[in-house]
Symmetry: C2
Subunit: 590 residues, 2 copies
């Protein structure tokens, strides 16, 4: 009996770890460990903060930063991507779970775990079915608008922790209005901690590294210290709460975070819950994948490496399934931490596995220290991190370049702020597809003439060209398909309606990449109508794939005119008094 | 005080009746009356039958054939279109009302009236906003598949009347399974009437006219008599039931049909009902409009007349609102009766108004005669009428021409039969848009070379062409937009990856009708990456509108190469040893 042969290359394609682990050396390991230490320091406060943003207990953030990183190290293709809880996906998790209207913390945690499982399953399925191209339907402007609006929503949602008041909601209006209502209840100790933390973190970001460099520290160490800013903020504010007993003065603290490694968990298999969470899981998967893949591609390009988008889907899918079985919630590759990982010298995905060990140690040893950590400090961490996502320049860029893109990005921003993340990004996708279809349903059709002294034909309205009274040449600047088939019919028939000397219409097809069944029927109709008026219809510069297809229909038999290889052949053949021999040539060209 | 001036031309555009009524003569009136008589004879049994198909009382079919015809005569632009209840829209009405789960006949009638009102309002709104192009998103194959599947569903749903048993459902499986369950209860008197009527109607359709002609009758009269076939079937079977008291033997009859003109009715304004019916009304509007406009266009073309699609929306919208205020249900232009109207010599929409008078007389005088009319006869009328809609040749045509169109049509047929009309047509539209986007997301890219002795460039794989080792020219056969931007990036970078002597890449853009923001960012990325490899990027044959837009971005400043007016200019300029003077020329071409 012979087993099906699996080659090493196939295995390596699906398990990228086999690829890089072969050439793993002590030097590479050292680089990876250094990067892992820096990322761990950065990731501990971020994990806690994003879990709170998602409306989950802080420890779920830590759990989501352990096993998922190991899974990505095995299945992922990017050498620098750092996976874990990220801001936008945490916000989307909060929205998805908010829709369910749950109040029991155990049920909320179960929903988050199930969401991670579903989105892992969706990513894995997309990877296996090679559906990575679906992510392309999120246009760059829609993503940019969505990220900016999400950043604003996230920052706004964290203000309640800064003011120490109650506020909630999934849209900017809900958040702002509940916040304003409760503003008189502001806790001034909390506000002081929050504002001090924000100010400190901004200063760390802009001023600390230059300062450290000026004291003569080596650049790499200065960098590490600057990244440790949030840890310093956490340590100092936690100490302050403990020393002055500020929790008794109304400062909200993280409280008990269970000590120990992540528990083994299982998602819910309740079909009702699955159907409620499915659309959210799909959106989280696609947004998470797009964000992650664009970070991975940017970093890979810097080192002339390549990533495999379909295998990235598998890597992220495995990470999310890992999150689901270890008490986490949806994860993806984060921008800031991946850049830090890259800059710190991570050479292989092993850096992620080492980071996981760091976070696991934190979960085992540090959680008792987090009891007095004020939520305001975590909120400050989030606000400073997400404000770097907010970038309105895309509005200006698209306004100058393309009004259609501008509409898509402006609508995405407005709808995300006004109706929440899920409505915003869905509307952005639908709108950009709709606007694209609308544009292609009214194609640009140019009447062209010969540029004197060349064999080149251009628009008679834009260039000085030669024309003939018996001949109209229309260049159709779009593939012909159902949405614009009737438009072309109307256009051609209107153009020829009152043109008496006309004998020939040439449709020039260099830009026609497809003629579908509906368009074929329209062409047959045009041919028939023109023939009734005594006008012959010709085609020129029909592309190979289009011609192949036309040859499989009856259209070419019915066509009253000819098909010319080039428009110049058509021009010469259809002259009222053609030079001798042209007819033969053009026939040969068919 | 001066009122805004409305010109006669503007008024005529919105009230087409002003246009044709000016030149209305006694001759035209005679033609119209003759056509009206024939259509009335045809329409009486059809109206009753389609109302039963829609699950409504028979008189609602008559009511829907009076005022709506008058409204269309005023606002419609087609001179031969006959408006009224039609098979497919009746089936869709049955599905829409079936979704509501109502049992009270008064509530069912109110729902049908509300559906007519909503679909009238949608059509009017589309007409005023000039949204007629939306109908283009129903591709020809999807419509063909949908009509075929609807015909089968309708015929299947009528079999219960032929067998005289209870069966129901909105999908083929539901209808067939309930029918089989009840088959032992078949009423043999009903079955005899039903089969006899079907056989007679088929014979009328195929054999009667030739027979009448052979007896020496004038062709026009033979035609009229052949069209009166269903009336003969109605008369004979009604008489048979009355004579033999078959209603006592279980033959289902129409029963009391109220005598008199249509009542004045008002739709419900209950927001809950509106939101339940909205999607159905939208689908009915679009399907009805597409069906109607294609009939109108076919007939107009035969007389070199033109119809105005946006004004047609207004005409059909007014008809449906008229149906709603006069106890009717959704109507549209029907194929069979419009052809009859046209063949019978209708010259203006006044023929429709005369038909309305005929139906009104029938509602006033004939309804008592309909008491003993067996439902089996009406079912036979429907079955014979709809079987002419069933045409599977579209499957063969699309299979040969385009697999993508085949998938769309096959899925539309399967889903309409399997899941009902609303799911079927929605899935057809979404699928054809999805497949179109999928195709454009993986564009055809051809590497091209010079056809010797010409200035023409073609695919190196299909033609014998000249190439240069330093130069790769890629012709991109698709507009560049978000869905394929990354594809192009990958394609170009893969192509140049291991090509050592390469110095220049020319992207030839004759088929690129658009470069959106996402694609612009991809081009910037390609330019940057190629530049890092020491390769210059050029563009050629960029279309006017695309060039205009590129000039508004920074891309042309960053471009490492040039933009050439024609590919031949690029070819000459980028030769390793270019002829003198070329550089100046190509610069001038920018």
């Amino acid at each position: 009996m012979q087993l099906p042969q699996i080659t090493r290359a196939q295995l390596e394609r699906h398990l990228p770890i086999l690829n890089w682990s072969r050439s793993y050396t002590r030097d590479t390991a050292t680089s990876d460990v250094v990067a892992a230490v820096i990322v761990t320091i950065m990731l501990i406060p971020q994990s806690l903060a994003y879990a709170l943003l998602a409306g989950l207990p802080a420890e779920m953030g830590l759990y989501a930063s352990i096993l998922p990183l190991v899974a990505y190290a095995i299945f992922g293709t990017s050498r620098a991507l750092a996976v874990g809880p990220v801001a936008v996906v945490s916000l989307m998790t909060a929205a998805a779970i908010g829709n369910l209207g749950l109040t029991d913390p155990a049920q909320i945690a179960l929903a988050a775990i199930t969401l991670a499982f579903l989105s892992g399953a969706i990513l894995l399925a997309m990877g296996v079915l090679r559906l990575g191209f679906l992510a392309n339907f999120l246009s760059h402007p829609v993503i940019a608008g969505f990220i900016t609006a999400s950043g604003i929503l996230i920052a706004a949602s964290q203000l309640r922790h800064i003011f120490g008041v109650d506020a909630h909601g999934h849209t900017l209006i809900e958040v702002a209005s509940t916040l304003f209502t409760h503003l008189p209840e502001t806790n001034f100790f909390t506000l002081t901690i929050g504002i001090a933390a924000i100010a400190f973190l901004f200063w760390v970001r802009k001023g600390l590294k230059p300062l450290l460099l000026s004291t003569g520290l080596p650049p790499r160490l200065a960098d590490v210290l600057a990244k440790a800013g949030p840890v310093a903020a956490v340590a100092v504010t936690t100490l302050a709460v403990w020393l002055f007993g500020l929790q008794n003065w109304g400062v909200a603290i993280v409280g008990t975070v269970p000590t120990g490694l992540p528990p083994l968990t299982a998602p819910s298999f309740d079909p009702a819950l699955w159907s409620q969470l499915f659309m959210s899981a799909l959106l989280i998967s696609i947004i998470g994948f797009v964000e992650s893949v664009s970070v991975a591609q940017t970093l890979a390009a810097k080192k002339r490496q390549r990533i495999t988008p379909d295998q990235e889907l598998v890597g992220l899918g495995a990470s999310n399934v890992a999150a689901a079985v270890s008490g986490g919630y949806p994860v993806t590759g984060g921008f800031a931490r991946s850049v830090v990982n890259f800059d710190a010298g991570a050479e292989t995905p092993a850096a992620g596995a080492f980071t996981a060990i760091g976070i696991a140690l934190a979960a085992l040893l540090l959680t008792p220290l987090l009891f007095f950590l004020p939520k305001a400090t975590l909120a400050a961490t989030i606000i400073v991190a997400v404000l770097s996502l907010v970038d309105f320049s895309i509005l200006k860029k698209t306004w100058g370049y393309s009004k259609v893109d501008f509409i898509a990005v402006a609508a995405t921003i407005a709808l995300t702020l006004g109706f929440g993340v899920e409505t915003g990004v869905s509307a952005g996708v639908i709108l950009s597809i709709g606007l694209h279809l609308y544009k292609t349903s009214r194609p640009h059709v140019a009447e062209v003439g010969l540029v004197p002294g060349t064999q080149h034909f251009r628009n008679i309205l834009r260039h000085e060209v030669e024309t003939l009274p018996e001949l109209v040449t229309l260049r159709v600047d779009e593939s012909l398909y159902f949405a614009n088939a009737r438009f072309l019919e109307d256009y051609v028939l209107n153009r020829v309606a009152c043109d008496q000397p006309l004998k020939h219409v040439v449709l020039m097809f260099p830009a026609v990449n497809e003629v579908d069944m509906s368009a074929l029927e329209s062409l047959e109709e045009i041919n028939k109508r023109l023939s009734e008026m005594g006008i012959r219809l010709h085609l020129s510069e029909v592309k190979g794939p289009v011609m192949d297809r036309l040859q499989r229909s009856h259209f070419l038999d019915e066509l009253t005119g000819q098909v010319f290889l080039s428009q110049y052949d058509a021009w010469r053949a259809l002259q009222p008094d053609p030079p001798t021999g042209t007819d033969q040539e053009s026939l040969a060209a068919q």
